[in-house]
Amino acid sequence: MTVEANQVAAEPASVSMGFPVTVGWTHAAMAVYSVLRLNTPVNLKMIVEMHGPLLIDFRHHAFSWSTPLDQFPVDAVHTGLETEPTSADAPPYFELPGQDLDGLLWEMGINSFGGGPAYWLPTGERYRLTRWPNLTQHRHTMQQMQMMAILGNTYVSTSELAKLAGVEESEAQRLVNALSLMRILTRTSAAPATQVVPQTAAAKRQSLFGRLRKRLGR
């Protein structure tokens, strides 16, 4: 059985979702996205083999997990997923503050869908950031930072983003998936293509960002 968006939405009272044993984070990301879309109080528990239960309290935008995010298991084996309806005034799912859910959504989004588009993203759209993720707390590459600088300033499609940043489209797609899961992207099909001020090759070589990265060993 595959967990789909409407199944999570239609069965908030069920305890176990009949989650199949899956490797990786795609199904988990789909389940989390569905719960976020529900916008009703629900707790979620994921059983991750060798890594203990992962608890998410959406009301408090927090999660609890014994595995640190800097050891995020990209190929984790998921053996179960349970939802627990709750209410606005119910006690928290675990002792707060827990950890900021954004950090988990970031890792989950980057490491799901195999570099293809998340199932909830329609084709033919351009994206822009509504706010930056908290980069002092999330593991990230300099290419991802560069792509966020693009997304923070203009609407781009995933392929345009990849081209502007000089990365593989799958890398751009992973970032778009993550930012979308974190719900900090806005999208439109009406925005025109971005015009970039032409830079000479010398100007590109002289990018301070590039030189500073090199100087700081990043």
Binding site: T130, R131, M145, N153, V196, V197, F209
Partner: protein
Amino acid sequence: MGAGKTTAIESLSEIEVVRTEANNSERHIADKPTTTVALDYGEIVIGGEEKVRLYGIPGQKRFDFMWSILKKRARGMILLVNNDAPDPIAEMLTFLDDFRELYDRGGVVIGVSRADVAAGPTLAEFSEALERANPDMVIPVFTVDPRERDQMENILLALVVNIEMRAALGMTMANAL
């Protein structure tokens, strides 16, 4: 005041920071014995004679004569906001307004310090306030511990890449850094 400007520059600078601190007469705002009165100065050498020069300037209005000097010459600004201050969002918006020309010419990044110890606004609340005040601006907002070099480097790099990208997209008054 009390956001960690001097510490932030110490974390980034490769030279011994030139510090100009004096007794703090506003301990009701930030309970620390000294505060920056003119500026702190540090630098990162990129290669040869080229340097990133880092200036920490005081936040109190009575030192705004320093602001006008630096905002004319700087290429970007990291605005450190003390999340433990009485109204950190209002403070952030006021400073952004004061330094708007620096945003228009280059770029700005917000660093929220003491976010781990103070029950102040969340990052989302800072971002929402920014969007309400300036709907077309998406300014990066990060939590930061100014003592952590890695975090300060991230903020500095985010500032630089944002300045360069805005120039490349023709969104600033200067198209090259």
